[in-house]
Amino acid sequence: MTLLRVYLRGLREGRFILGYTLLLSLTLFILAPFLMITLRSVGKGWFGRLWLPPQLTLDWYRWAVEVGNIPEVMKNTLIIGAIAVILSTVIGIFAGWAFGRRHLPGKEVLMAVILLPRMIPPITYALGVAKIFYTLELVDTHLGVALAHVSVCAPYAILVLSATFEGLDERVLEAAGVCGANTLKRFFYVVLPLIMPGILASMLFSFTHSYNEFTLTLLTYGPHTVTLPIRTYLAVGDGYWEITSAMAVIMVVPSLLILAIIQRRAKPEKLVGGFKGV
């Protein structure tokens, strides 16, 4: 509502009208599809040119859960997400440490290669992944799909944790050493608490990417590893728009929760930067 008030005041004072109008239009443009599927998922007998559904119902959600097998699909999605998060974060910690703390020769080139899966069209990359996974019999396993996801999650984890390690004050580690802490104690008492914000951020980013991933899943999933995006896509193919919409809404809820966590609990720049000495 604040936005609206600012807009109205802008109108009154005759300033920034063009800017605000564009901004509001863009917001509507972004929100319209969400609005559409939400209405779809609770509307009954909504045909033709009516502006709003004539009747509200939760039937489509029941159908989605029962016929669409959403609990099973949700379980797959979460298992795959968890594996992808753990693998990406472990990779991120080691690679981030190397990128952030060490003077690596050819650091830029390595970083470019790591970012490659994100830069090229996903389908090209997914094709290669699928080919390899068929050979290794990793297709239609939770580990296989999660591994495919790691190729896009890990770059984010590495980026975030590189920045975290860069922000780590070398002298603080030196101080811990002089105080008598050996490498292991230095890691657990000093390094780990200081990079914790980075680890949490990396886990959050990794989970979001795994949860949203479509292309890579499409080429590696099977009957036992259907994820939410895939299930929703398949429902579209079946032609049940109302059920698809209900699935979409179910799928959006965790994403919104994560977004809310990021917005409220943590400043993104703080997550990435970690603590600084002074």
């Binding site: 004050d169 002298r171 603080v172 030196e174 101080a175 811990a176 050493g177 002089v178 105080c179 008598g180 802490a181 050996n182 104690k185 008492y189 000093v190 608490p193 200081l194 603590f275 600084k276 000495g277 002074v278």
Partner: protein
């Protein structure tokens, strides 16, 4: 006080294109506060880091309390260290920061708490135990650093430019506080700084370093009064330099001709007439004479080129002889203006032979 606590024996550390420490040999006695003083890049920090074990020297050995620690890892060397940027653990409270070395050593909790309280009292931070470092001022953070370094009674205390990140006034205060704490505990301390004021005020002895080597080692008085080289004289305090040739040697005195001035100065061993020498005196060692004074030993006619009022003193630039520049600082009781003619007495001029 004849036993060595810290000993560098021919320590050499080379980097790709420079030698940070070049056969450095230095002994710090038990209970002594020694300052390593020098411009940045002189090797003082490298020496310190060789002592902490953060850097391994290419050659030479380091002894700590009579034991060769060259290959002992940092965490087993029993050191206490205060850092320039404080290097406190940002995620721990003041109490946990100070307790860290005790926790690492598995000291039982009641004893740990008592020791931490003592250490905090020592640096006058009793009321701040539950604060986080970021909630403290720079001076308070550095006092936490000092408490953390001293809490487990290390063999030696190392201070790496501990006052450089503080503002000028606080720096002076902390200087005395550190000196007092170190004296009270009687701990051996090595203090690294580029600030000559700190070095003179704090140290039992000062080691001046230049290009990885020891330039001069002595008490603050020795270093200030009798610098052994132009480098030391320039680095410590203000200096006037004048190049000249020895005219005559008469017993313990010699006369040097420099820029049209005949300056008398104590004779140097093995320096005869015709030899080039460099004369040196401090700006506060010259006197401007009042009234009509007969010419005498080292009394010269001079013209005031520039006079600057400094509050408690006056700073003059004098021109004498055939254009020699001399900086003189006197008390502000009697002032001279630019353009005035004065007579200046140089009671104490030292010199070094110049070989080139």
């Amino acid at each position: 006080m004849a036993d060595a606590m810290i000993e560098f024996r021919g320590v050499t550390k080379r980097y790709a294109n420079l030698t940070a420490n070049d056969r450095l040999s230095l002994t710090i006695e038990r209970g002594e506060l020694m300052t390593l003083l020098g411009p940045s890049g002189c090797g003082k920090t490298t020496a310190l880091r060789c002592l902490t074990g953060y850097i391994h020297p290419d050659e030479g050995r380091i002894f700590l309390d009579g034991k060769d620690v060259t290959d002992v890892p940092t965490h087993q060397r029993e050191l206490g260290m205060v850092f320039q940027n404080f290097a406190l653990f940002p995620h721990m409270t003041v109490r946990d920061n100070v307790a860290f070395p005790l926790m690492i050593r598995n000291l039982p909790k009641p004893e740990r708490e008592r020791t931490v309280a003592d250490a905090l009292r020592l640096v006058r931070l009793e009321g701040y135990a539950t604060h986080y470092p970021r909630q403290l001022s720079g001076g308070q953070q550095q006092r936490v650093g000092l408490a953390r370094a001293l809490v487990y009674h290390p063999k030696v205390l190392l201070l790496d430019e501990p006052l450089s990140n503080l503002d000028a006034k606080l720096r002076e205060e902390m200087r005395f506080e550190i000196k007092e704490v170190v004296t009270r505990l009687g701990i051996t301390a090595m203090y690294v700084t580029h600030d000559q004021g700190e070095a003179l005020a704090l140290s039992d002895r000062v080691a001046i370093m230049n290009r990885g080597q020891l330039e001069q080692l002595g008490t603050p008085e020795e270093i200030y009064e009798s610098p052994r080289s132009r480098f030391v004289a320039e680095f410590i305090g203000l200096s006037n330099f004048l190049e000249g040739f020895v005219q005559a040697v008469q017993g313990a005195e010699m006369v040097v001709m420099a820029r049209g001035l005949q300056v008398s100065t104590p004779a140097l061993p093995a320096v005869g007439p015709g030899q080039k020498v460099l004369l040196f005196l401090r700006p506060n060692e010259a006197e401007i004479l009042l009234g009509e004074v007969p010419a005498g030993r080292n009394v010269f006619e001079a013209r005031v080129e520039k006079a600057t009022y400094l509050g408690d003193s006056m700073d003059y630039r004098l021109i004498l002889g055939d254009g020699a520049d001399l900086r003189v600082q006197t008390d502000a009781a009697h002032r001279y203006a630019a353009g005035e003619s004065v007579r200046v007495l140089l009671p104490r001029v030292r010199s070094w032979a110049v070989t080139d």
